[in-house]
Amino acid sequence: MSSIAVPTAREPNFLATVLAVVRRHVLTVYSFLFFAYLLLPIAVVMIFSFNNPTGKFNYTWQGFTWDNWRYWDGVPGIRSAIFLSLEIAVVASVIATALGTMIALALVRYGFRGRATTNILIFLPLSTPEIVLGASLLTLFLNLSFVTFGFWTILIAHIMFCISFAVVTVKARLVGFDRHLEEAAMDLGANEWTTFRKVTLPLTAPAILAALLLCFAISIDDFVVTYFNSGSEVTFPLFVWGAARIGAPAQVNVIGTAIFVVALAAMLVNVVFQRRREVRA
């Protein structure tokens, strides 16, 4: 009896153990796969920035070289494309954030007529497919006969779709903002402008900074809207697209890697900064 009973008793035990192990590690395995899925393409981009391709195409590993990094602007047109993109991203994100902050303040603070409508309109560019935005902007610009396509049309387009992101980001912060703080400042002798400078601005600064970074990130890699409205100007995404058709140079990977590293660094700085704030506050 007992000799039979033992293995049958052990069997479910064994199964249970296996199940327990799987259950214990399933999250780890899942996380590993998830990050692999997420990071593999980026890793490939990075690795291939050190490739030494023999032909036009940078698709198979040929050998290690620093040359792509050393001559990062060794491809005709890449340098001006990068600078144009940076220029547009900086100007567009600053203007969009400034305007977006003011719109957010107005939306949260003042009960004006048409506030609800404005709230919906702000969301419109976020939910409209980019291709529709790009195409309709093109139509608009074409109808304005005095407009020449180029830097200004790209800038206007970028500011337009960045504003919504800025408004949404800053608004989220302002909604939780204790209005009594501003009243307290005024109560203590600060006029409207001083109150804004000393209380409103410092307390919304993290959101404004976040909006700025977000706008910058969105602007610098925008392709669709830019493509419709760039005329003969070439931004970096447009350059990559053009280059990819005739064989992407490894320099594209270099720039891609550089942008990724800078973004990562900015994020880390932000995290560290927030931590320090929390510890101090």
């Binding site: 703080l181 600060a190 001083t194 307390l203």
Partner: protein
């Protein structure tokens, strides 16, 4: 030392313009759409007093205070700070400071900078600024906390920072909107005494908003009882308690036994069961017809030593320690009686016991009979 100086200053200030109240509200009304928050309210607050605005939730206390502070403009009426009419004057040009219920300390600034905020706006700098801020932190018993951020302080400490931040500007009037609402009971009691002492020391007029009658009675020299945007009665705590003029005031401040009846003669009211009671001389005040007589529970004796008498039967008894509270059934309804437990060995009355209640005519006030006043 510095406190003495300030007392001196405030005494001088009081002397130079005694007679002019610090604040005068002249028939102010404030409506938000259909809601009338403050309804044709007039009020004078004398210099140097500790004034309480007392009333139930939603009666317009905060709105009144915010109009004085300049955060709301009255729909009608005028507000005077001293001699000056201040309508249209923004908060930062009014010589009043506010302690907000939420404290509203600036979270991004240190305690020192919070307190220094008002002084900096006036251009105070350097050693002078440091001296004043530290003196004030000392006054609220927070010296040494200057470098911390508001979030690193307890509720009671934040409360004191809020006080210091307002008081350091030596305003004409300090406005306090339920400043103790967020504190627990024990701390609240402590802070009540602390704020009262502080007011006494600095000599600045305080207007304290609260819905807690005990708090108002403990702290204030004068109390305005508000109801539905209007002032029901204004007076010292004992006036309001001993001689309430309306059923609302009688029941809002402490417990009142209100017995309905009809005026039966000079200083006499006949209750519903036919008993005639004598009321305090002159308290009928020309009233005729139906009225209510009021007696405080502790003024009623469980014996027949006083002229006004009613028979009754004990319905409930609650031992409170210092006293025992009885609910007594009488022909005129239930009456609450509080008997002090000051003689050891007295056998208490129990439910079902019959007794006679009596009280002094002097302790009997009259209010308009108001159905539905609890």
């Amino acid at each position: 030392m510095a406190v003495d100086e300030r007392i001196q200053q405030s005494l001088e200030r009081a002397a130079e313009s005694s007679g002019t109240p610090d604040i005068r509200l002249d028939r102010i009304t404030k409506s938000f759409g259909d809601i009338i928050a403050v309804d044709d309210l007039s009020l004078e607050i004398p210099r140097g007093s500790f004034f309480a605005l007392l009333g139930p939730s939603g009666c317009g206390k905060t709105t009144t205070l915010r109009m004085i502070g300049g955060f709301e403009e009255p729909t009608a009426g005028l507000i005077y700070l001293g001699e000056r009419e201040v309508s249209g004057t923004p908060p930062y040009k009014r010589d009043v400071n506010t302690v907000f219920q939420s404290y509203a300390l600036f979270p991004h600034l240190s305690i020192f900078e919070n307190v220094a905020f008002g002084l900096r706006r006036k251009g105070t700098r350097g050693g002078n600024l440091k001296g004043k801020v530290e003196e004030m932190l000392d006054l609220v018993q927070l010296s040494g906390y200057g470098k911390r951020k508001p979030r690193q302080l307890s509720g009671g400490q934040q409360q004191r920072v809020a006080l210091a931040r307002a008081l350091v500007n030596s305003p004409r009037v300090l406005l306090l909107d339920e400043p103790l609402g967020a504190l627990d009971l024990k701390l609240r009691k402590e802070m009540q005494l602390f704020i009262k002492r502080l007011q006494h020391d600095v000599g600045i007029t305080f207007i304290h908003v609260t819905h807690d009658q005990e708090e108002a009675m403990t702290m204030a020299d004068r109390i305005a009882v508000m109801n539905e945007g209007q002032i029901e009665q204004l007076g010292t705590p004992d006036e309001l308690y001993e001689r309430p003029q309306t059923a609302f005031v009688a029941s809002f401040l402490g417990i009142s036994n209100l017995l309905t009846g009809a005026v039966a003669g000079p200083d006499e009211v006949r209750l519903e069961d036919g008993t005639t009671v004598r009321v305090r001389n002159g308290s009928l005040n020309g009233r005729k017809g139906r009225v209510a007589v009021g007696i405080r529970p502790e003024k009623i004796r469980p014996d027949d030593h006083d002229p006004n008498r009613l028979p009754g039967k004990v319905k409930e008894r609650a031992y409170i320690g210092v006293s025992t509270q009885y609910i007594v059934e009488t022909p005129n309804g239930n009456i609450t009686v509080v008997v002090l437990n000051d003689r050891p060995g007295t056998v208490p009355l129990g439910p079902g016991d019959r007794l006679t209640l009596s009280w002094d005519p002097e302790a009997t006030f009259v209010v308009d009979s108001l159905e539905g006043s609890a």
